[in-house]
Amino acid sequence: MAIVNRTPDSFYRPGLTWDESAALERVHAVIAEGADILDVGGVPAKPGPEVTVAEEIRRVVPFIERVRSAHPGLVISADTWRHESARAMCAAGADLINDTWSAWDPAIAEVAAEFGAGLVCSHVGTLTPRTRPHRPAFTDVVTDVLDRVLLLAERALKAGVDADRIVIDPAHDFGKNTWHSLEITARLSELTATGWPVLLSASHKDFVGETLGAGLDDRLAGTLAVTAVGAWLGARVFRAHDVKETRQALDMIASIKGDRPPADAVRALA
């Protein structure tokens, strides 16, 4: 799942794809690099200037329409928490709603059902959208995550979302400190064991930075390490800024698992 943000102020490489032609070029590039899903968002997760529904739609919907016509087979994910935006984005061609803020707007599941779209069911603890966690504490963070995402998956089913289109996401860093994000990484098998496909969104996040003492531009190795562990434990979708590197890491894990033959096995076989 390649990230293309239609924002001027996202945390990593802010404004990289703010310009629409740059964003479209980025789409072609990430597809060439091996992305299966494109995740398009118009509002940063961090606190900042308000982005109204109208502005979010203005940033994202025409772009989704252009991507849809250019790449009819691509899975397009709408990164939004507001059902009005989600509806406009699905109408423009989005296939999946990536609701990172854990059904803060409960009507979002109905929109997914209405359009036959997929839905990401995530965990953010007690946060409201675009706020930062302040001293979150859990008796057991994985239990808290499981309770929430399973509840949301159940609700999505009841709302009429196709069971094959529900994804769960523990949401690293959202409502969690670094220790919590490390814990959900180590115990990701408890999420994959539920049978729901698991989305892993760790790319360049603060828990990687804090764990390695690495600045924003120095978190690729840490991100790929988390990606590899997640893939090994059965995660199915990987939200990534660095598509080529992520694809390579995932292909490598798939081959280690025996799910994918090596591309070119000649060594010592002549």
Binding site: P47, T131, R132, H134, R135, T139, W179, G213
Partner: protein, 297 residues
């Protein structure tokens, strides 16, 4: 009767185990330890820890901070880093005898890492049977443990929305609970001091924190009692009920004989009713305002 009072903040990172390899804000940890040491120097019959909680009421005095709720990897009580240098041990009050061997088996605490006077009590919280405390009370308990205090303690939670009058009354009641009471009020200032603060930037936050620090520095108990509770809540200043409990407790204390008023105290209030104060730390390096102070009647 209050014989000494102190204010400390309650960021989880005061527990050195939670900051990983880095020693974050050692000066804040040192100031907090110094404040608690001054509190204990008053030879109290009991130390009362008061801090914000979900509900108002006493908590189990055997309770401890749950490190694992913040750092699941510490669940097993295994120190992941050498934290001995980060802790500020009390003036050799702790002795190995007060740590039951079942609680802190020697295998958990390598002797070279943690000399007996610096047993990190919070490292082995799982061995303590009592339920985990609200954060502020857990931090208070940890500070007392670190100071080597093993005497009687009471832990009292105050609901975050408790009105000032209730806090003041609670303070008076706690002050009257023993002949010599030391009060540790644990709580934080605003959490909106910068764009990277937990609550994002609010321009009203810095003046609010400055007003609190000034009132504490001047021992101006009526000013603390009169803090704007709605503004405090809007600025995420979780310490407000704890400070007002402290104001209530100190206003019940009779002035000490021989008390000499500080020169900067305004003349419109009887200086003799003001406590001796010292602000040991007042800053917001991470966007949350931390205040450390002592107030001696």
């Amino acid at each position: 009767m209050i014989v000494a009072a102190a204010i400390c903040p309650s960021p989880p990172l005061l527990a050195p185990e939670l900051t990983g390899q880095a020693d974050i804000l050692p000066e804040l940890r040192a100031a907090s330890a110094a404040a608690v040491a001054r509190l204990l120097a008053a030879a109290p019959d009991v130390v009362v820890v008061a801090g914000p909680a979900e509900t108002t009421g006493p908590c189990d005095p055997a309770g401890r901070l749950s490190l694992a709720s913040f750092a699941p990897a510490l669940r097993q009580g295994r120190p992941l880093a050498d934290n001995s240098k980060k802790r500020h041990a009390g003036p050799a009050v702790a002795s190995p005898a007060v740590i039951p061997s079942a609680v802190a088996p020697s295998a958990v605490i390598p002797s070279a890492v943690a000399p007996s006077a610096v047993i990190p009590s919070a490292v082995a919280p799982s061995a303590v049977a009592a339920p985990p405390l609200p954060l502020a009370l857990g931090i208070g308990a940890m500070l007392l443990d670190d100071a080597g205090y093993t005497g009687p303690r009471k832990l009292h939670g105050i609901a975050e929305g408790e009105p000032a009058a209730t806090c003041l009354a609670l303070g008076r009641q706690l002050a009257a609970s023993a002949p010599r009471v030391a009060l540790l009020a644990v709580g934080d200032g605003t959490a909106r001091r910068s764009a990277s603060a937990p609550g994002y930037l609010d321009e009203r936050a810095a003046p609010f924190d400055e007003a609190v620090a000034r009132a504490v520095r001047e021992g101006d108990l009526p000013a603390i009692a009169a803090l704007d509770t709605a503004l405090a809540a809007a600025l995420l200043a979780a310490g407000r009920p704890a400070w007002q409990t402290l104001a209530g407790a100190l206003s019940a204390a009779a002035p000490q004989a021989g008390y000499r008023a500080a020169e900067h105290q305004p003349a419109d209030r009887p200086a003799a009713s003001r406590p001796h104060t010292a602000v040991l730390y007042s800053d917001a390096p991470l966007g949350v305002a931390y205040l450390v102070a002592t107030l001696i009647p």
